[in-house]
C-alpha cells in the first residue's frame, strides 16, 4: 500500500502516521508536501491531525485551499482511499468531501483520553476488517470534535449508512457519558457515500502497538490494505 501523508504547516501527527504505516505495518509511506499537485503514485492519502495554519478562522478552513487539496479531491473522486484523522477530518469537511462540521467540544475543554468506538458498518475502506458492533479502543486529542450536521443532512448520513464510528461505553452501549465532545448521535467518524473517504476524530495511528497502550487502530489501516487488495483482484 503506497501511502502519502500530507503535511501542512502546523500538522503534528504526520510522523505518528508514518510510524504506524511504515514501521509497524511495513508499508511504503512518504510525506506529501502541502504544495504538491500530483498524487498519482499513491493508493492511500492520509490527512493527519494537528493545527494546520494555526487553526485560524476555523479548523481546516485555510488548509482546504492548499495546492495539494485539488489533487486530494481529484484522487478521492477517482476512488482513491482518503483518511482524515482529527484535523484531517475537519479539512475534509471544509473541502466538502465529507458532510457536516466539527464544532467546539460541548465542554469547551480540549480532550485527550482513550475512548471506545463502536464500528457501525464494515463497508467503508477503513472498516472492512471489522465487524459491525465491534468496539475499538483508540485515543482522542482535540478541542473541536463536536460533530454537527443539520437535521436533513444527519438523516441522510444515517439512512445511507455513512456513520462509521460512534463513541460508546466499553460494552458498546451508546451513552451520554461516553460521548467526549457532544457530537450528534455520538458520531466519531463518517464516510462518503462511496466509502473510500473516511474522516474520524480519534487517532488510530496512536493505537498501533501494545507498548503504547493498545493496537486496535491497526484495524483501520489493515482494512485499507484489504480494500486495495480486493480492488486489485
Amino acid at each position: 500500500m503506497r501511502t502519502g501523508i500530507v503535511v501542512f504547516p502546523g500538522t503534528w501527527s504526520d510522523r505518528d502516521c508514518a510510524h504506524a504505516v511504515g514501521e509497524v505495518l511495513g508499508q511504503a509511506a512518504r510525506y506529501v508536501d502541502h504544495r504538491e499537485e500530483r498524487l498519482d503514485d499513491l493508493d492511500l492519502v492520509i490527512l493527519p491531525g494537528g493545527f494546520s495554519y494555526g487553526d485560524y478562522l476555523r479548523c481546516g478552513a485555510i488548509a482546504r485551499f492548499a495546492p495539494v487539496m485539488d489533487a486530494v479531491t481529484e484522487f478521492a473522486n477517482r476512488g482513491g482511499l482518503v483518511l482524515g484523522i482529527c484535523n484531517g477530518f475537519q479539512i475534509l469537511q471544509e473541502a466538502r468531501l465529507l458532510p457536516g462540521a466539527l464544532l467546539r467540544n460541548a465542554s469547551c475543554e480540549f480532550r485527550c483520553e482513550w475512548v471506545n468506538l463502536r464500528v457501525e458498518q464494515s463497508q467503508s475502506a477503513f472498516t472492512l476488517n471489522c465487524r459491525p458492533g465491534q468496539v475499538l479502543r483508540i485515543p482522542i486529542s482535540h478541542g473541536e470534535g463536536n460533530f454537527f450536521a443539520d437535521a436533513e443532512t444527519l438523516e441522510a448520513i444515517e439512512r445511507n449508512g455513512q456513520v462509521v464510528f460512534r463513541y460508546c461505553a466499553p460494552d458498546g452501549r451508546l451513552t451520554a457519558e461516553s460521548n467526549p465532545n457532544g457530537s450528534l448521535g455520538n458520531i466519531a467518524g463518517i464516510a462518503n457515500d462511496r466509502g473510500n473517504v473516511v474522516g474520524m476524530m480519534p487517532h488510530p495511528e496512536r493505537a498501533c502497538e501494545a507498548l503504547l497502550g493498545g493496537s486496535d487502530g491497526l484495524a483501520v489501516f489493515r482494512s485499507a490494505i484489504h480494500a486495495l487488495a480486493r480492488v486489485a483482484v
Binding site: L57, A101, N146
Partner: protein, 94 residues
C-alpha cells in the same frame, strides 16, 4: 476607491454554542442575572479596493461564502463603507 467591510460571522441559531453558554455562565457569576442568552462569533475587518460599492459588496460576499464563513454552521452579515483616508504622520488630529 478603498472600502472597509465589516464581516460579522455567527453560529446559526440551530447550532449549539458552548462558548456563548460559558460566557453567559460567567456573566451570571458576576451578578448579571438579567442576561438570558450570549452568542459568540467572529468579527473581521476587510479593507479592499474596488471600482464602486456594488463591486466591493459582491467581492466581500464571494470571499465570505468561500472562506470567511462556513455555510454548514454559520450565518454572516456584511457592513460596507468607504474607508477613511489613512492618517499619516504630521496630519494627526490634535
Amino acid at each position: 476607491m478603498t472600502y472597509r467591510a465589516e464581516v460579522f460571522v455567527t453560529l446559526k441559531p440551530v447550532v449549539n454554542d458552548p462558548a456563548g453558554l460559558t460566557i453567559k455562565g460567567g456573566l451570571h457569576a458576576l451578578g448579571f442575572d438579567s442576561v438570558t442568552d450570549v452568542r459568540a462569533g467572529k468579527y473581521l475587518v476587510v479593507t479592499l479596493d474596488a471600482d464602486d460599492e456594488d463591486q466591493a459588496r459582491a467581492r466581500v460576499e464571494e470571499m465570505t461564502r468561500q472562506l470567511l464563513a462556513n455555510a454548514v454552521i454559520e450565518d454572516y452579515r456584511i457592513q460596507l463603507q468607504v474607508a477613511a483616508e489613512p492618517v499619516t504622520a504630521g496630519q494627526r488630529p490634535a
